[in-house]
Symmetry: C2
Subunit: 258 residues, 2 copies
DNA sequence: CGGTACATTGAAGGGGCTCAATCCACGTGG
DNA sequence: CCACGTGGATTGAGCCCCTTCAATGTACCG
């Protein structure tokens, strides 16, 4: 591990294009025409930055745009009446925010920024225009949402049928594959800007127990997490423990879409 | 409760159209033009019936069609290496099957029929045609998938942050609202064709414990489940216990789509 | 009549929670 | 410069919810 040369401070590989990860993602499903690419660039015309720890979407409020996450990490969550919090999903560069949170008169979930974040708002009207003028892009978005659903499915398995140790191992591997797909991780390590309490809320556990499980992973010499940096020492064993099969995260060509 | 007149044996209200619940659902987002409705009917031209307990989609195999569920109940699931099973979602009339299960070279999940089922296969090629010729339908499908994502989100909350009693209560209320939306439930009762073991696999519990929780609900005079029939005696208390808020299941007009 | 599927109930054990204390890094104000 | 507060990590002790293992009942069906 770590036998790939690191480039600079981060040691992470460069994404194809730093600022438009969603375009790269859709292009991976099916090559984009010039017109399609131009339209997608147009959607990214206005960008906003949001500081870490700020709320991006507040449950209950109305919204009229989806948000394309261009840079940074966000999480979608729900707070229960008794104060418990469940993280519903983590958003990385190239992901759509506000799907499904915003698609109601009042947002059904909240979304918060883990790190400083760059987003491009896409008003619903533009989204309709996209479906009308560029049906292949519409289909690609449909595909992208299917991929997200596959990720949620695996989270359901995680919460429903795996113990704390396996859950943590699975999340570590999932985030590695997802971050690497957008050029934010190197071969065996990455920056995961989540506190242990955030990890706990994503895994349906308590912060204290996550801490114990991290210690176990370290003692087994599988993973070390220090100062927000995850280093995977033995991916093969980890994958067996977690029951991790990465094909659900792979982006494939959309069959028959030329 | 039960103050609505029941019609015939089932005591359930009639859906708008028995055979095309998906069309009704999309029409609820935005009124369909004649051409759109005709195309949707065309998609339903070929139908297949599948007997209860049969596999509809087998994980790993390739598929080239989505399936529209016209009648019956299905579940999407995953089996782990140690034999544990997690149910990822329940499909009711009007739902799309194979999203996301089929959208990979090999299906990532399996799908099985709970009851006898009627499905209409929609080859991927037809789906592309739909997006090309009827972008409003494409957008409506996108919306529908967002609604499904909202349901999965609530399941994540259920598995991650609610105890067994609350989980069961929540599922009972969710299924009531969803079945009623497609005319398969009356005001306070419905047929839920799931065994206790299936309920357990949907809730991340064991069959034995589900049995105990059902007994608790009965002893508290909140719900009785007998012979596959769920009767809700006190929906208000149940909703408080479960933390159930039904707006995430409501189908709203797609804003701005005329 | 035996076999299967499903429901039901009990007893014991454990995995993760709750409550609690400590430690460390960091920023802030006096 | 130091006192203090805060956010986060770490560790321990006891408890409880749910699992595991087990046994029994019951309806249906070949």
């Amino acid at each position: 591990m770590g036998n790939l040369p690191s480039n600079g401070d981060t040691g992470e590989t460069k994404p194809v294009s730093i600022t438009y990860p969603l375009i790269d993602r859709l292009a991976a499903y099916a090559p984009l025409s010039d017109a399609e690419r131009a339209f997608m660039l147009e959607l990214h015309a206005t960008k906003r930055t949001i500081a870490r720890h700020r709320e991006i979407i507040v449950a209950g409020r109305p919204y009229e745009a989806l948000l394309v996450l261009c840079e940074g990490v966000i999480f979608r969550y729900k707070i229960l009446a008794d104060g418990k919090r469940q993280i519903l999903g983590l958003g990385l560069p190239g992901d759509l925010i506000g799907f499904p949170a915003c698609l109601y008169n009042g947002a059904v979930n909240s979304v918060s920024a883990v790190t400083d974040v760059i987003i491009a708002p896409v008003p619903f009207a533009r989204l309709f225009e996209l479906f009308r003028r560029f049906p292949r892009l519409g289909l690609a978005l449909f595909w992208a949402s299917a991929q997200e659903a596959a990720i949620y499915s695996e989270h359901l398995v995680n919460l429903g049928r795996r113990n704390a140790y396996q859950r943590l191992a699975h999340l570590i591997l999932e985030m590695h594959v997802r971050l690497r797909a957008v050029g934010r991780a190197d071969a065996s390590s990455y920056c995961l800007p989540l506190t242990q309490d955030l990890l706990a809320d994503a895994l349906g556990l308590t912060g204290q127990h996550v801490n114990r499980m991290i210690r176990c992973l370290r003692e087994e010499e599988l993973v070390t997490i220090e100062d927000r940096r995850v280093v995977i020492h033995n991916a093969a064993s980890l994958a067996i423990i977690a029951g991790f099969e990465k094909q659900y995260l792979m982006s494939e060509q959309i069959p028959g879409l030329n």
